[in-house]
């Protein structure tokens, strides 16, 4: 495994890579969720590139860019057995002075996470467009955990005719259902326990759907009630939306629908989702 730190070197490396090339963009502090993406990239491609870049432009001014957890040494150690190249550009390498171009993916970026985090998806789509242009992957791997991000990247790639495949990978969960996330590290023991309410609530929605409940309002009410039983949980949103447009569904659910939620546990904002098929 080789670590590449500049765009120029990454371009050079890319020219020599055996095709197809699998690419996993990350912000580091890797957990089993990331590693499942890298393993799938490994299984499906001749070469695997992982990027580690904590992208400042996708954090809001009051968000946790500065404190976002970082542990490069451990990241490199866990990647070593399954990765060919790790691309770790410097911030001013990715964003030289006067860098002023943005990729905007439109209406789907304005709902859910986009409504709560203005500019977040502009930052995501722009940095991913840049990374795609540098790494030029055959396939790029994203987790279903960040369902809206996955949709935004898929839509960007399709709308801009990017010559690559965006591959969705299932959410990896802790034994008690909590979706793996680098931000879970912010939780103390009591909060970590409370955080299981996200998946329990999604599992409830999934169960009610399987039992034949079609009304979005009814399911949303039951979800709300369950979360409210957890005193540490502060609901940011509970959404049942069309899985393609992310438009909120208020009455009869037509599958596939994305059931997603954002809940604050203490100061930590967690998100999770399931798809009703």
């Amino acid at each position: 495994m080789k670590v590449v730190e500049t765009i120029a070197e990454m371009r050079q490396v890319r020219k020599e890579l055996e095709e197809p090339v699998g690419f996993v963009p990350t912000m580091g502090f890797l957990h089993e969720g990331h590693l499942s993406l890298v393993r799938q990239a490994r299984a499906e491609n001749a070469s695997v590139v992982v990027s580690i870049f904590v992208n400042p432009t996708q954090f809001g001014p009051r968000e946790d860019f500065k404190n976002y957890p970082r542990d490069t040494k451990r990241d490199l150690a866990v990647l070593e057995p399954i990765t060919d190249f790790v691309f770790m550009p410097a911030t001013d390498g990715m964003y030289p002075e006067n860098c002023d171009t943005r990729v905007e993916v439109g209406a789907i970026t304005e709902r859910l996470e986009g409504a709560a985090r203005p500019g977040h998806f502009r930052g995501v789509s722009t940095v991913v467009a840049k990374l795609f242009n540098i790494v030029q992957p055959t396939r790029a791997y994203f987790g279903q955990k960040d369902a809206q991000q996955l949709l935004v990247i898929k839509k960007m790639a399709a709308d801009l005719d990017m010559d690559l495949e965006v591959v969705a990978c299932p959410t990896v969960r802790e034994p008690d259902g909590l979706a793996m996330s680098s931000r879970n590290t912010y939780l103390n023991d009591r909060q970590r326990q409370a955080a299981t309410v996200l998946y329990r609530t999604l599992a409830l929605a999934q169960e009610r759907w399987s039992q034949g409940e079609k009304d979005a309002g009814a399911i949303r009410r039951e979800m709300t009630e369950l979360i409210k039983k957890e005193p540490l949980a502060d609901i940011k949103y509970i959404s049942i939306a069309d899985a393609g447009t992310l438009k909120e569904v208020f009455h009869r659910i037509k599958p596939p629908a994305l059931v997603s939620l954002a809940v604050k546990i203490g100061k930590t904002r967690l998100i999770d989702n399931v798809v009703l098929e």
Copy 2:
């Protein structure tokens, strides 16, 4: 020469092209200006792709999209001896329903033509990003005649780390100095005569600069006076700006500076420019 009409076929063709690949994106109705770009692409590359696509998203609602001149038969005839592939996608091939992603190049798109034509450069940068992703050229050729467009494309390519070279080609002029443009076809004889005022005015600026005049205000005044002598000319703007940022210069000119103007002759809006080195 082969005509390619779908994105899927163009991708297929691209895989077989001999490198390097030169690309000239056009809106058709080709004149000597376009052909000079194609010839330079021919001279510098093993393969040459020209696109013809009248891009609706770069026209404002009151602009001339519907009436923009088209003559595909003649275009193909003049390209035949110097082009390998002509990419002529359908509008709904390039913009399927729900296509919602936009590339925004920031501050330089808000000045000059961008101020006069809101959304114009968003349309240009987005369609060129798409064409670049489809054709994947080694080099792409743009005319200095559309100086701001050239700058926007160069900035987009740099900011988004696109793996290609944007090549600027000199403005091609009629014997009397009028810059070649597909829109010149809108002019009647009297207007065609009046249109020479654009280049005469730019030549005056160039001459005063060569003579040692450094004050932008003084040069702008002389330019204005000269245009006002032409009764058919309606000045939209006269600009002396930093050639990199396009910020207007009001006092001492520091080269390189872009001297550009937009003038309406009848209903036809013409632009032209020179660079003070």
